[in-house]
């Protein structure tokens, strides 16, 4: 079923911040905020939890390291030992550079893959912009409609509008997004 949102557009980074703070102060839940560039205070203001993506990076790097060491050992020691310049089959020191490179490679690719999966970004995905120009110069705040908490705190729709206007929203409207 289509979801309805109350969208408030701002021109200023700060008024958006104010709006977020006030709205949450009023006990409302901010669905999301849209901006042309990342605003760091928003993280605190919206109370976003710390990301777990670093764990993905850790996993990636470790896997790269192990694959590299293991493969080189398998190839030059187990599968096809050769007398190369009289050096021992297991020339561990010589295996380090490649181990290092693969660590980085796997780490990087797996982290980015994790990001795309987590944020559901994929080629050809059709964007749903709740406000025009948020990739240009518009800051937008979106609230779910109807908001159960709003109902609970006996806030009327009109009150929410007033609050947002008070925070300097240039434009407020309701919009539906496809499911």
């Amino acid at each position: 079923m289509p979801r309805r949102f109350l969208v408030a557009c701002f021109q200023e980074e700060e008024s958006l911040l104010n709006a977020v703070r006030t709205v949450r102060g009023k006990g409302l839940k901010v669905y999301d905020v849209f901006a042309p560039y990342p605003i760091h205070e928003l993280g605190v203001a919206m109370g976003i939890r710390k990301s777990r993506l670093p764990l993905a990076a850790l996993f990636g790097t470790l896997s790269g390291l192990l694959v590299a060491i293991g493969f080189q050992f398998y190839a030059n020691v187990l599968d096809w030992p050769m007398n190369v310049g009289g050096k021992p089959d297991n020339s561990t020191l010589a295996f380090i550079p490649i181990a290092f490179e693969l660590t980085i490679l796997f780490g990087g690719l797996i982290t980015v893959a994790a990001l795309l999966v987590r944020t559901r970004l994929f080629p050809g995905k059709h964007e749903h912009l709740l406000a025009d120009g948020i990739t240009d110069d518009v800051f937008a705040l979106a609230l779910r409609q109807p908001d159960r908490r709003a109902v609970a705190s006996a806030l009327r729709q009109s009150d929410v509008w007033k609050i947002l206007e008070a925070c300097g929203a240039k434009d407020i409207y309701e919009r539906e997004s496809p499911p």
């Binding site: 050769m82 007398n83 190369v84 310049g85 009289g86 050096k87 021992p88």
Partner: protein
């Protein structure tokens, strides 16, 4: 016999015994049971084989099956298993005894015959290369009359008509040949000589007639003595490159090495060389004194004067000593006297008086019969320049009715070639046995191409009563006919030369021996061993010296006025010295790409010749190597590039002969400059030197194709030298057990063998036979002048030349350099695709199929012995040398891959020989014995300077040499632990 069993079953060339039995029935059976007419078909099928071999990078066995041309197979021809045949080399007149390896019917490799008492298994570069001449595309496919193809019947008819016509007109019939070392051939010529109007004239482009005449005057017989360097403790050479080109270099080098072995220092000879241009002989001498050619005679006189004084001859013609060598000459004189009876003075100077003085010197010193053998003379260089001079005159006067040219090319190498050609025009019938259209044969009426000696029967007697036989190793590839057979037929005799030869031996050699009663056995026996030595028949000749030495000395003293550096006349007048180059010799092999690309052991030039000048002269005239100058003598002028040569006598220009062929073939035509016109006949002998030479600069420059550009050793301990004094007596010499290899790494599991090599720098003369041997064995491509100039020659073994010391007292050393097969090989570590790794038996092996050609190994090789295929050198029209034409590819060794473009290659220590020897040992259920394996370079070396062996076997020759006090590794400090090592060069200074 073990020397020749590289390819499997022990004594392989025992086979040639059976072979020869059949041969007695039909000389053409080796290749095929079909009659001789079938030769062309065989040739085609072989062609098919080599095409395949070159394209499918040769696993010989797989291909060999379809290569065998035998319909009904023979038990003697096992695909892929080579047969060996003993024969005799015709590369020059020295007549070395050879063993020829034939694979699937094709001769592919020439090796020396160790059973030969004269040559003991050694060969020279030219001998090694002759196998390629067999497959020369320029060879005529059949007889020519007036330049167009014809049949032998036609030829016979016309020639015999011409001969009878000449006889009718009472005109002379002349056979003009090079020195005939073949006794049977001499016999045939003897039969011709029964006709009164027949004359046999011997013409040697490199003549020794002065020596012969001197002996005529001194001992009553015109001969070239047989020298015994191995009996000499003091060797003095005057312009005689006896280690490189003079008379019989392989024999002499072998003898020389015997006297130069520092391990028995008590019998270590001194060697002093007086010469103008630096030769490899001079490079090996303990003392080398540069002398301008015109002064060599006075050096001889000065020595004679000192010796004469010792034996109390007061009436010695007075005269000044050639300055500034007085001190040296006194010392040499004393030495000579000390070693009388065991000294040897040789000279290549073409001047009768000088040779008389030399003969006197040897006679007074009592060397006759000790180091100089007159009762068993050498039968080479029988030419007499005066006769040739007469002949040319007679020809021009139209007195010659018929001229038969056998193995000579006067239109190229005679001083007055034009006069010869004019005369040739006037001869009603001229016949040449040349195998190609060359400067001379293209002007004769009939060309009757002779076999290549590998296709032919024959015999040789290089030294009196030292015989060797020659047998075909392949049936004639073309419609050629043996020269001897022609001469027989034109005498009206039937039957082929083979039967004649056999009968000749039955009636002569066989009767002179008593060991074997049955002639068939004797024949087979001789054919198998290839050589036989019989008691001499030349007894009763006087060896008493009665030469006109006073007169000779007098003439020399008068002719050479004392020259002081101050006198102005010498300042702008120079002298000329013409010499045979080690590669091309007299020039008859000019179309052999291997020899053209063989770096001269001294100048290291390829593909052309240049006039060597001393650095001082170059500075004085402001000349660089490659600048072209014009040389003017009284008779001729020559335009030639110069080459700055350390050790060159200050006022002399040395020019190698044998270059500048006008008509010889794609490879050799118009390479270098022909210097023969400068070698004039002066009072009856041909002079290879000239006085009063003027030099004019032309301002032109030509790039010289040198394989080495920097000759100073930069004070690096690459070549180690020591004097006898520094040698510890062998008994006391602590046998060190190699180097204690301290290593960070755990030892690797090793195989049963560790193949290694020890090269004795003291024995190595630099003759370069190993280079060609390696090229032939390992299918090393020829890349041509342009690529050599770009420093891309492919030789797996090269002979580095270094100079040290001052210009006056120049030290020159040579060092054979090939892959050192390092135990800690820098090249292996860096190859990204594991294309070069280490085998369990100590070889650094190159995997052509895996190589992608990053050239990292080449960069990281401290010895720079790796060779990269910058282009496709086989089957590429741009490199039409040996691997392009189907003919040329027949010489390819089926046991060795032909490398493709973009692949690295290098010395493999003849791994194919190692493998087949291992297989043989396995079949015989024994382990490989020391000496079973000989690498190509080792086998070719006349002085046995290269020793290959198993380093695991502590008693192998190689292992024992590695414990020698002179043993060292090149660039030891890098810790590459090479399996190839060197023995330091030992000089034996005069002062000891």
């Amino acid at each position: 016999m073990k020397d020749h069993t590289q390819c499997g079953e022990t004594p392989t060339y025992g086979k040639s015994l059976e072979a020869s039995r059949d041969l007695s029935a039909d000389p053409f059976v080796i290749l095929s049971n079909q009659p001789a007419e079938a030769t062309r078909r065989d040739f085609l099928s072989l062609m098919g084989f080599t095409l395949a071999a070159a394209s499918l990078t040769g696993c010989s066995r797989g291909l060999a099956q379809k290569a065998i041309p035998l319909a009904a197979s023979s038990d003697r021809l096992i695909p892929g298993v080579p047969n060996w045949y003993a024969t005799t080399c015709a590369g020059c007149s020295a007549g070395c005894s050879l063993l020829v390896k034939t694979c699937d019917g094709r001769p592919v490799k020439i090796e020396g015959n160790a059973d030969s008492p004269l040559f003991g298994g050694g060969t020279c570069a030219v001998g090694q290369a002759t196998v390629l001449s067999l497959y020369d595309d320029e060879r005529l496919r059949g007889p020519l009359w007036q330049g167009s193809d014809t049949t032998w019947e036609e030829i016979d008819r016309r020639v015999m008509d011409g001969l009878s016509a000449a006889r009718a007109k009472r005109q002379k019939i002349v056979l003009l040949s090079g020195t005939l070392v073949s006794p049977s051939m001499r016999n045939i010529v003897g039969q011709w000589a029964r006709h009164p109007d027949f004359r046999h004239i011997v013409y040697d482009p490199i003549s020794m007639s002065a020596l012969r005449n001197a002996h005529l005057k001194s001992f009553g017989r015109a001969l070239v003595p047989h020298y015994r360097f191995d009996h000499a403790r003091l060797i003095i050479g005057l312009e005689a490159d006896f280690l490189g080109t003079w008379l019989s270099p392989v024999d002499f080098a072998r003898q020389y090495a015997i006297t130069r072995n520092p391990e028995n220092a008590s019998y270590l000879s001194h060697h002093i060389q007086f010469e103008s241009g630096l030769s490899i002989t001079g490079a090996n001498a303990d003392l080398r004194i540069p002398v301008v050619p015109s002064m060599l005679g006075s050096v001889a006189v000065a020595l004679l004067r000192r010796v004469a004084a010792r034996i109390g001859m007061r009436d010695f013609p007075p005269g000044p000593d050639p300055l500034p060598h007085e001190m040296a000459l006194d010392a040499v004189g004393d030495k000579l006297w000390k070693h009388r009876g065991e000294s040897l003075v040789v000279s290549g100077v073409q001047d009768v008086s000088v040779q008389v003085v030399i003969a006197a010197l040897n006679a007074f010193l009592g060397n006759i019969g000790k180091t100089i053998n007159l009762s068993r003379p050498s039968l080479q260089r029988m030419g007499d320049d005066r006769e040739m001079e007469q002949l040319v005159g007679d020809m021009n006067r139209g007195e010659i009715g018929a001229l038969i040219l056998c193995g000579v090319n006067p239109a190229y190498d005679y001083a007055e070639a034009d006069r010869f050609l004019e005369g040739l025009e006037k001869v009603p019938l001229s016949v040449s046995f040349s195998d190609r259209r060359d400067e001379t044969s293209s002007h004769v009426h009939a060309i009757c191409p002779d076999h290549h000696f590998l296709e032919a029967w024959g015999d040789a007697e290089p030294v009196d009563s030292c015989f060797s036989l020659a047998q075909p190793t392949i049936s004639p590839m073309f419609e050629t006919r043996a020269a001897q057979e022609n001469l027989l037929r034109w005498l009206g005799q039937s039957g082929n030369y083979y039967t004649y030869l056999r009968e000749f031996w039955r009636n002569n050699m066989f009767l002179r021996q008593s060991a074997i009663q049955n002639f068939d056995d004797y024949w087979d026996q001789t054919l198998r061993t290839g050589v036989t030595e019989l008691p001499s028949q030349m007894s009763g000749h006087s060896t008493e010296f009665h030469g006109p030495w006073r007169e000779a000395a007098q003439t020399i003293i008068e002719s050479s006025a004392p020259l002081t550096p101050s006198s102005n006349e010498i300042n702008d007048r120079y002298e000329l010295h013409l010499y045979e180059s080690v590669g091309l010799r007299d020039g008859r092999h000019a179309n052999n790409p291997w020899l053209q690309e063989l770096p001269d052991p001294i100048t290291r030039l390829t593909w052309g010749n240049a006039a060597a000048i001393s650095p001082g002269l170059a500075k004085k005239l402001d000349l660089q190597s490659g600048d072209i100058v014009v040389l003017k003598t009284e008779h001729a002028k020559l335009e030639i590039p110069v080459f700055i040569q350390p050790g060159q006598e200050a006022r002399t220009l040395s020019i190698p002969l044998g270059y500048g062929r006008k008509q010889v073939g794609t490879a050799g035509t118009k390479v270098g400059v022909n210097a023969y016109p400068l070698a004039r006949i002066v009072d009856g002998v041909r002079r290879y030197s000239a006085k009063n030479v003027a030099i004019e600069k032309t301002g032109k420059h030509e790039a010289l194709a040198a394989t080495q550009s920097h000759f100073s050793i930069e004070g690096r301990p690459i070549v180690r030298e020591m004097t006898v004094a520094q040698l510890v007596p062998t008994a006391a010499a602590a046998e060190t057990q190699g180097e204690a290899a301290s290593s960070l790494w755990p030892a690797r599991p090793e195989g049963d063998h560790s193949w290694g090599m020890v090269i004795d720098l003291n024995s190595c003369t630099g003759c370069s036979a190993c280079v060609i041997a390696c090229q032939a064995e390992n299918n090393v491509p020829v890349v041509g002048k342009r690529e050599v100039i770009r420093n891309r020659e492919m030789h797996w073994i090269r002979i580095d030349r270094y100079y040290s010391g001052s210009e006056e007292n120049l030290r020159s050393v040579q060092q054979p350099m090939m892959c050192q097969h390092c135990g800690r090989a820098p090249c292996e570590t860096v190859c990204p695709v594991l294309a070069t790794t280490h085998s369990s038996d100590g070889l650094n092996q190159q995997v052509y199929n895996r190589c992608v050609g990053t050239r990292y190994c080449l960069n990281n090789c401290p010895y720079k012995v790796r060779r990269f295929n910058w282009h496709e050198y086989s089957q590429n029209p741009e490199y039409d040398y040996t691997m392009e034409s189907p003919m040329g590819r027949m010489v390819l060794n089926p046991e060795v891959t032909v490398r493709s473009r973009g692949v690295m290659e290098k010395c493999s220590m003849c791994v194919q020989r190692i493998q087949s020897a291992k297989t043989a040992a396995l079949q015989a259920q024994r382990s490989v014995r020391d000496g079973d394996i000989q690498t190509a370079c080792q086998q070719a070396c006349p002085t046995q300077a290269i020793v290959f062996g198993d380093l695991k076997d502590l008693n192998s020759r190689a292992s024992r040499l590695r414990r020698n006090q002179r043993y060292y590794h090149v660039l030891e400090g890098l810790g590459t632990l090479p399996n190839v090592g060197y023995l330091a060069k030992v000089r034996n200074p005069l002062t000891t």
